[in-house]
Symmetry: C2
Subunit: 408 residues, 2 copies
């Protein structure tokens, strides 16, 4: 059986007309001889509306009850899509996460898939039915409904593709694919025809937002090839997979995250265990830290700076003060919000000496000051003034010749 997996996001299912378009697209592929397994999100705004409704009743509803409520969104869209397919004369069946055999742990609102029993899906596919699955949801050992957290429908699609041995998982969204940069900032940005899983992970984490991190990790782990494409255009989209040839083009894209704050703890004693103590305190407050630098600026006195998401900035500052008190009250805590993280992404980037120097040189020539630097295998990130981030992106996009990238 040649199973082909598709996933449709909320905007693709926003109204009756779009539901019919999706149904037509599914049937086209079915007519090409594929066994079709389709995962759908809730319709546009449904989840937000349900959350708003819940909050009017209870400021902090229990995660279990919230999952009971939110899972209705995908159940509605999957059954309506089934009707749209029926209306075109095809055999179809819609399944909830539980019916699809997606078994999770009981961490409501952010459940992890522990096992997939695809027997029902395979049985329906073998009978020639188009199988539609409500994304984002699973079922606990007790039979309770869970949701998989942000981007959960992508996770459902990739996990099911792995479970049924599908080679490809097409992810339909409202953008054309992954670009070398944000087209809103860089008009010359090019659509990338293909990226590796690791490149996609960095591009996604850094704001491209096309695929959830977790779904890309899962796809990499199980070797499921992803194809991100628009439900509203005939653009070729972006394939996410391991390809040797892709390493020829070094820098794949530039990207930016402005939703960060820089926290500095200044004037702490330079003695062993200080950094350990500080970040232990931050972790215990649930603050997730991204980049870290430590400057020894005077004998015996240290400055430690790090970045967090803007949402976490308040808790981070609080945790820092708590830490300073615990070591005797020395030092200061400073918060800076008007910063942005600009990154260049590409496989093998940090093994190539030319890339870092081009990055630093380009920013220097543009008069942009670099506050912090961090590197990974496939990424170099710098923290700069938020007001200069767009210009930095444009200059870097040009400097790495992304305006004229050879599309593979």
């Amino acid at each position: 059986m040649d199973v082909h997996v598709q996933k449709y996001g909320g905007t693709s299912l926003a109204d009756d007309k779009r539901l019919r378009e999706v149904a037509t697209r599914v049937i086209e592929r079915k007519e090409q001889g594929k066994s079709m397994l389709v995962v759908v999100s809730a319709m546009n705004h449904t989840t937000e509306d349900l959350i708003a409704r819940a909050r009017r009743i209870h400021s902090h509803p229990s995660p279990r009850e919230l999952d009971m409520l939110l899972s209705t969104g995908e159940q509605m869209s999957v059954s309506l899509l089934a009707m749209a397919v029926e209306s075109l004369g095809y055999e179809v069946i819609s399944l909830t996460g539980g019916m699809s055999g997606i078994h999770t742990d009981n961490r409501h609102k952010q459940a992890r898939i522990i096992r997939i029993d695809a027997a029902r899906i395979l049985r329906e596919l073998e009978q020639g039915r188009i199988v539609l699955v409500a994304g984002f949801q699973g079922i606990t050992p007790d039979g309770d409904i869970t949701t998989l957290g942000r981007g959960g429908s992508d996770t459902t699609a990739v996990a099911l593709a792995a479970a049924v041995g599908a080679a490809w998982c097409e992810v339909y969204t409202d953008v054309d694919g992954v670009y070398t940069g944000d087209p809103n900032i860089i008009p010359e940005a090019q659509l990338l025809r293909a990226v590796t899983y690791d490149e996609m992970l960095e591009l996604s984490r850094l704001g491209a937002g096309v695929l959830s991190t977790r779904s890309v990790e899962l796809a990499k782990e199980h070797g499921v090839k992803l194809h991100v494409r628009s439900a509203f255009s005939a653009q070729p989209g972006t394939k996410v997979m391991e390809v040797e040839a892709m390493e020829e083009v070094l820098v794949r894209g530039v990207t930016m995250d402005a939703n960060i704050a820089r926290i500095s703890v200044a004037g702490v004693p330079d003695r062993p265990g200080i950094a350990f103590g500080l970040f232990k305190q931050l972790a215990s407050e649930g603050v997730s830290v991204d980049m870290i630098i430590q400057n020894l600026n005077r004998a015996q006195v240290n400055d430690i700076s790090f970045t967090v998401s803007k949402d976490d900035a308040g808790s981070a500052v609080q945790a820092c003060w708590t830490f300073l008190e615990s070591i005797g009250g020395h030092g200061m805590v400073l918060q800076k919000d008007d910063v942005a993280k600009v990154s260049i992404v590409g496989t093998g980037i940090t093994n190539s000496t030319g890339v870092a120097s081009t990055l630093f040189g380009t920013l220097y020539e543009a008069g942009i000051n670099i506050e912090m630097i961090s590197t990974s295998e496939i990424k170099i990130s710098v923290i700069i003034d938020a007001g200069q981030a767009d210009e930095a992106l444009r200059k870097l996009h040009g400097a790495f010749s992304l305006d004229s990238v050879e599309l593979s």
Copy 2:
């Protein structure tokens, strides 16, 4: 464990304020030491809105997919009610029909309960939780979602009350209970404090519409006492149960059904098998026939008249013509729509000679012609001109002293 069952209809859950009122009412009873098991309908208009949405996609969606869609209505209301209970600081859990162990056959849209496994409900109740169940729904042996048809949430409540051995099932609705007649037509109509199951069945079938027929039959079968009351008033409501003393008051109420048509097949030969053939044809077209009379008006020629619901009138006439053709084309089919069925209901009514004569005498004095008559153990019904139905109801209500009924 002293389990108390409550059921709330859609109007009781129409908005946030009412949800909180319901939560408060549930908690009050919990505080009286009861283990609370609560069944809820979908919020007002939700089911109708979902059906309308489905019809825009497909004029005749498959019953299975419609059940997938419609069941989200109760799942939403049950989880939101859970949040309302949580917000008042009580332990609560919401369950779908499937989670509640309501196993049905696979007749979608009108499934029958085949088995209830109440283990999960009992476990949650034993842990002191308030258990909320989404009404109207169950699960097939394959794990698919079914709905129980019209009045399905009443059925859920009564079936669960029987399964957990609850003595009482309170049914909260938007009316004060069961009256001796329709208060819109008869201002003197009195609220009945108690009726028997059979009386309730007749009153419900004939238009009181407070409880579904099926739920009353189920309650009778399992000896579950029902208490119908308003979610919006402090009225005492109507109890439905077997009580000897209730037989003292003979006629319990008068009721009317104007949604009927009278069909006459005139001039058919008077020979054996004619009536059998006609009603077999009607049954094969799915037409449900209520009252039947047959007049031998000339030698060898018969008139057969019967009543059907207005919705079925078209199919009934069609079936009659088909039948007439099959016996050689003799006879005529006539349809009359402006008729109404007026009934008096009360246990033992047909064993009391005075009742029928009072009925016929009252209508005669009011100048109302009786077209058809039928009787059952606890009911006498007459078909009269629709334009005279309200007057008939008022006259009969007075004639049987229902204006001053002794409330038990």
